[in-house]
Symmetry: C2
Subunit: 283 residues, 2 copies
């Protein structure tokens, strides 16, 4: 008989459970997800478990972070599969809020991040980080975790959430988990399910291209030349359009000087057919 994981979808019930854990002095970790869970998400649950007695996984496909022309309605959903996977990684609770409870009639408060949110994804998805910041703030105040865990796969999101937590003095720590990759290097993503078999074979090019760029920059090549080579590799593999391949300060995401001694990151976004892939690596 398979283990099951308790699922709560009303805020009052969530607060009773997390309140009991807090009263008992148990540390709570939160892993925010949009479901369609893969090994990347599960690795974040295990990471939360390392420092927290209790781990909550939220599953909420957040309409506020999708533009009208984006893939909200076709975003992969697999509730039964998600619950089964979570039962096997010792998740204590799934927080699966109703959309009407997250955004009730009259909802009228947005969090608008600048700083780390400037450029990159925001140039192509202008409302995205406002939606992400608002829902993450809500998830944090709903669950009240000591720690929330985000994957480095969505690196700019990680930086924006860290910035929000610091700016709004939210009483939790943000921990980053490394990007989980397929054997051929492709970053795991729920959106990989959109790829055709031919596209799937080509998809790892994005990782190989930015990984090569990072190595070239470490080897002394000017960042502009390294990123242009990456764009060229993506073009040749059939990516079109290439939204960006950029080198940024790894903490602030400000454009990085070529002479800087601070850690840098290479970030890229590009399309294969109707699927947009993003990836990033440390320089």
């Amino acid at each position: 008989m398979a283990a099951t994981v308790p699922v709560i979808n009303r805020l009052a019930g969530l607060r009773v459970q997390t309140g009991a854990w807090r009263t008992a002095g148990e540390r709570i970790g939160l892993v925010p997800t949009m479901g369609a869970l893969h090994e990347g998400h599960l690795s974040l649950v295990r990471l939360a478990r390392q420092t927290c007695r209790r781990v909550v996984v939220s599953i909420f496909v957040n309409p506020a972070q999708f533009a009208p022309n984006e893939d909200f309605t076709r975003y992969p959903r697999d509730e039964a599969g998600d619950f089964a996977k979570l039962a096997r990684v010792a998740c204590d609770l799934v927080w699966s809020p109703l959309a009407a409870e997250m955004y009730p009639d009259g909802f009228a408060t947005r969090i608008v991040p600048a700083g780390a949110a400037a450029g990159l994804e925001s140039d192509f998805r202008p409302q995205f980080f406002g939606g992400v910041a608002t829902v993450c703030c809500k998830l944090f105040t709903q669950v009240g975790p000591d720690v929330a865990v985000f994957g480095e796969k969505d690196y700019q999101q990680l930086c924006v959430v860290r910035q929000m937590v610091r700016d709004l003095d939210l009483p939790l720590d943000i921990i980053a988990g490394p990007t989980a990759r397929e054997a051929d290097g492709l970053a795991m993503s729920s959106r990989n399910a959109y790829l055709t078999p031919d596209q799937r074979r080509v998809a790892p090019t994005i990782y190989r291209a930015i990984d090569a760029a990072a190595a070239d920059i470490r080897g002394g090549q000017p960042p502009a030349r390294a990123t242009e080579a990456a764009r060229q590799a993506l073009r040749e593999a059939g990516f079109d359009p290439i939204d960006y391949v950029e080198v940024r300060d790894a903490q602030t995401l400000a454009p990085a000087d070529s002479g800087t001694q601070r850690p840098r990151r290479v970030l890229a976004a590009a399309w294969l057919g109707k699927t947009r892939l993003i990836d990033n690596v440390a320089v």
Copy 2:
């Protein structure tokens, strides 16, 4: 020898104190202020005390809610007087954060309220409620109160903060205290200190005008006629310009239908010389 009240101005120290109170199971009330305290503020401290074992008063003149042309630099400041008044009303702690700790270099997250923030003050102070919402969210996450108390004097602010607390699921209750008034009806306000003796004699007209409008509306007069009479009374008393005199839904602040059965509020803002006065009353 006068009693004194402990003053903390670093977040780490604040969290040690409020954490100890929470661990002891003591309810915490917060009264956010910009200092220059008067009887109105003190009445909010007493109100917090009714349901909270511990009362924190924050004093922070928030630059983010002043436009460049507004009175941030000349806003009244009287730290010694404030501390003396608070020592007499059994305040447990003054939270007086450093500006550099509230808005450190790289601060880049704003809360943008719509809904209750639309119109009225926002027509004249477009950045105001963004600044208010952001600093109140920070004060709430810093102090972690069970209850925060706001005066009805700043009625739209009260509604915007309530809306933010609900929208962002902040785990506290907002309690409203009635407007404290001078013997002649003038709403107490730190900005009354700007008035010349002549202006001070005329100032209560704003309260008398909106109170008469509310009575006329209760008596069946159309709101548009009642508010026009109030504007006329203000003009005759020398208020210029009159920013607004409006009737709104008391909860949502949406424009109120004349046939509505819902509670309504009359709100006004008008200038006497260089001083802007606001006031409001229930219909």
